[in-house]
Each structure stands twice: as structure tokens, then as C-alpha cells.
Subunit: 215 residues, 2 copies
DNA sequence: CCTACCGATCGGTAGG
DNA sequence: CCTACCGATCGGTAGG
């Protein structure tokens, strides 16, 4: 039972989990090896250095991001593009909150390196979305006072950070059934993003991302 | 010139800066000693262990928080309380973005410990603000669909995270005069928080936090 | 993929 | 506040 299958993938999996929760400096190769069930030099056989393993973990997250986003930009009509992108980004990070924690840590740990990555991976579709919002503004379909680029970056930042830390924030809620306050926080995050976009009240289908939890 | 004055305060100052930018695990006592201009064991004379220094750094940030917030809650009228608290929180973290980075790192590194601290330091005034928002909702002064507790936590999360990482996100803007895109991001953050609160368009005095940079 | 081992650095102590 | 030093752990290598 449970044959090795692909040790390299197992190392990446555990490294992702540990880097996300303990940080790069807080995670030893020893700890990763232990989680996989092998010895330290075996990890270094598959990834020549800790830094290269770190790059591989980041590359995996960013390449999955690149699998999802371009399709959505192409497929969506201009009208629904922003909503679709926001839904896709939210789903992407809620699917595995370690992605959000990992990227947030990277921004804190290596701000200049991540600035370059953001230019490469984020700017292209921020540009597309911002352009669409700009046009929508001229047609008065979104608020006059909205700053399209700044708005798009704020929504992205809010989603990534929010999903990364929601578990620790949930203690504040007077709720109890564990998962409930997590969902309330995320649903309100989406409401804030939408409500600050449109000039009028909207009662859109909030909370659609939460369905998997509800059953 | 530049006499020692208070070495203990200097250690706290450099430790705060380094913990915020490199993280706890990424900062050695050696590095802190070097920044202060003393030797490693001298740091450990003033703070018996790295962990105790870490606690002292956090305690200082949280006690400054406690100096500012309670007064604002007491002084503000119920009508303006939320706006006042949001302004105070924004000012607090923009005054020294290391505070935001430090707290964000703590939430990522020690989620359970920080949950307890959040219960102690944040919940009390989230409760007050949420109660006010609840009453305002009944009087239809804020949006029907708004979840007061979740909204307050989202705004707090957005402010802390946004200020912590704004420098890395600013590369996306087509701006150039360096500081400008930083300000645009923060101004839009405040606009998003306000616009998603009220049922009607508001043209409040946005960007008042940005004055120090402009003048 | 392992055992055995490397120099460097870690947090921390002794003793002044 | 310093020099000198401790054991433990770090990332990484040799060699099979």
C-alpha cells in the first residue's frame, strides 16, 4: 500500500505546506524530509539546494495560476470579465489557502523579487481588467470616484490576504459552528468588493464560493 | 554626539525593524546586535532570550495600539465612531508600516497565539463598532446586506495587509513619481471601505491620511 | 535513496 | 557591556 509513486511531487507537496505555515527560514530540509518519510540528503538529491526547492514550489503555484487566468480573460465577455476574474482568483486561493499564505510570505520576505514577479504574472491581467473598468466608468456603469488600477490591486490584495489569515481572524465572531465564521468573512469580502464597484445597490449571488463547504 | 541614551530602546527599535522585514526565524541575535552596534551577548543581557525579545517587540506594538484606540472609542460620537476608528487604525499603521508587517507575520507564524491576542486586543472594539453598525442598519443608514462583524474584520484585515505590502504592489501602476502609486493604493482602499458601507454614493474627504506625503 | 561527515552559524552561558 | 566558549542544528557534500 502507498507506493512511492512520485517522490519529487511528495517533496514539493510537503515543502509547500511547510513553507506556507512556518516560512522558508522556519522550515529545515530535515523537517521536509521527515514529513515525506525520507532522509535529508535524499531531498537534496531531487532538489540541488533549499533555494532551488523554494523556486520550484513558487513556480508550481504561479504556473497553476497561469493555467487558470488566461482562459478566463479570453472566454469572458467584456461585461462580465471583472466578476469572472474575481471569482476565479477567489476560487484559486480558497481551493488551497497555502497558495495565499505562500505568496503573502514571499511579498514580506523578498519584496523586490516579488515586485518583479507581480509585474510578470499580475500586471498583464490587471491591465486588461483596469481597461474594462475604465470603459465601464465612461458609461457610468461603475462609480465615478473609482481608480481602476488601484481598485483591482486592492481587491486582489484583499482576497489573497483575507484567505491567508481568515482562520486566525474567525475567533472574533460570536458564531460557533466552527466553519461558519470563516464563510461569513469570505462572503463579506466579496460583498465589499462588489458594493464598492457599482454606483447602485446590487444583490448579486454572493457566497457562491462557499458551496463546497456547505455540502 | 549620539550618546547611548537607552540601549534597551535601541535594541527594541532594530529588532522591530528586522523582525518586520526578515521575520523572527530570518533574524539572528547577531544581526540585531550588529544593527545596534554591540555584541551578541550584550543583547542577551538586556533580553534574556530571543523569545523574550520577541515578546517585548510585540508588547510594545500592542501597547501603543492600546494607547490610541480606547480614547477614540470614548471620544467619538456614535454617529462618527466607525469613521474615526478606521482613520485611527489607518494612521496607526501608516505611521510605521513595520507594525503592519510584524502583526501580519505573527498571524502567519503563530496563528493560534495570535488568535488569542486578537480576542484580547481587537474583539472589544470590533464589538463596539459592530453594535453601532447594527443600529445604523436598523435606521437604514448603512447597507441592508452588510454583516457588521464580518465587515469590521474585513476592513481591519484590508488596512493591515494593504499597508504591509503596498510597496511591493505599487510596481503594477503605470504611475511613475515613486510615492504617487503608494498613495493611490491607500486612498482607493479607504474608498472601498466607505463605498461598501453606505447605501448611497458618498464623496467624503478621502485621502486625508496622505497629506504628510504631499506637503 | 542511504550513512557518515563537513564547516558555519545558531541561541545561549561563563566569567569578568 | 565584553571575550571566549558551549552543544545543537543548519545547508550541503562524499561516496556508495
Amino acid at each position: 500500500m502507498e507506493r512511492p509513486i512520485d517522490i519529487r511531487a511528495r517533496i514539493l507537496e510537503e515543502a509547500t505546506r511547510l513553507f506556507a505555515s512556518q516560512g522558508f527560514d522556519g522550515t529545515s530540509i530535515q523537517a521536509i524530509a521527515g514529513a515525506v518519510g525520507i532522509r535529508k540528503p535524499s531531498v537534496l538529491y531531487h532538489f540541488a539546494s533549499k533555494e532551488l526547492l523554494h523556486q520550484a514550489v513558487l513556480d508550481e503555484v504561479l504556473s497553476r495560476w497561469n493555467e487558470v487566468l488566461p482562459d478566463i480573460l479570453l472566454v469572458s465577455s467584456e461585461e462580465s470579465r471583472f466578476e469572472r476574474v474575481m471569482d476565479a482568483v477567489t476560487s484559486f486561493f480558497m481551493e488551497d489557502p497555502d497558495r495565499a499564505r505562500l505568496l503573502l510570505r514571499e511579498i514580506l520576505d523578498r519584496p523586490e523579487e516579488m515586485s518583479r514577479r507581480i509585474s510578470t504574472f499580475v500586471r498583464p491581467w490587471i491591465d486588461v481588467v483596469a481597461e474594462q473598468l475604465e470603459r465601464a466608468k465612461r458609461r457610468s456603469r461603475v462609480r465615478e470616484s473609482l481608480d481602476p488600477e488601484a481598485y483591482a490591486m486592492n481587491v486582489l490584495s484583499m482576497i489573497v490576504s483575507g484567505i491567508a489569515i481568515v482562520e486566525s481572524l474567525s475567533v472574533v465572531f460570536r458564531d460557533d459552528p466552527s466553519r461558519k465564521s470563516h464563510d461569513r468573512f469570505v462572503a463579506e469580502m466579496i460583498r465589499v468588493a462588489r458594493a464598492s464597484l457599482y454606483p447602485h445597490e446590487v444583490s448579486a449571488d454572493l457566497g457562491k464560493h462557499l458551496e463546497p463547504h456547505d455540502g
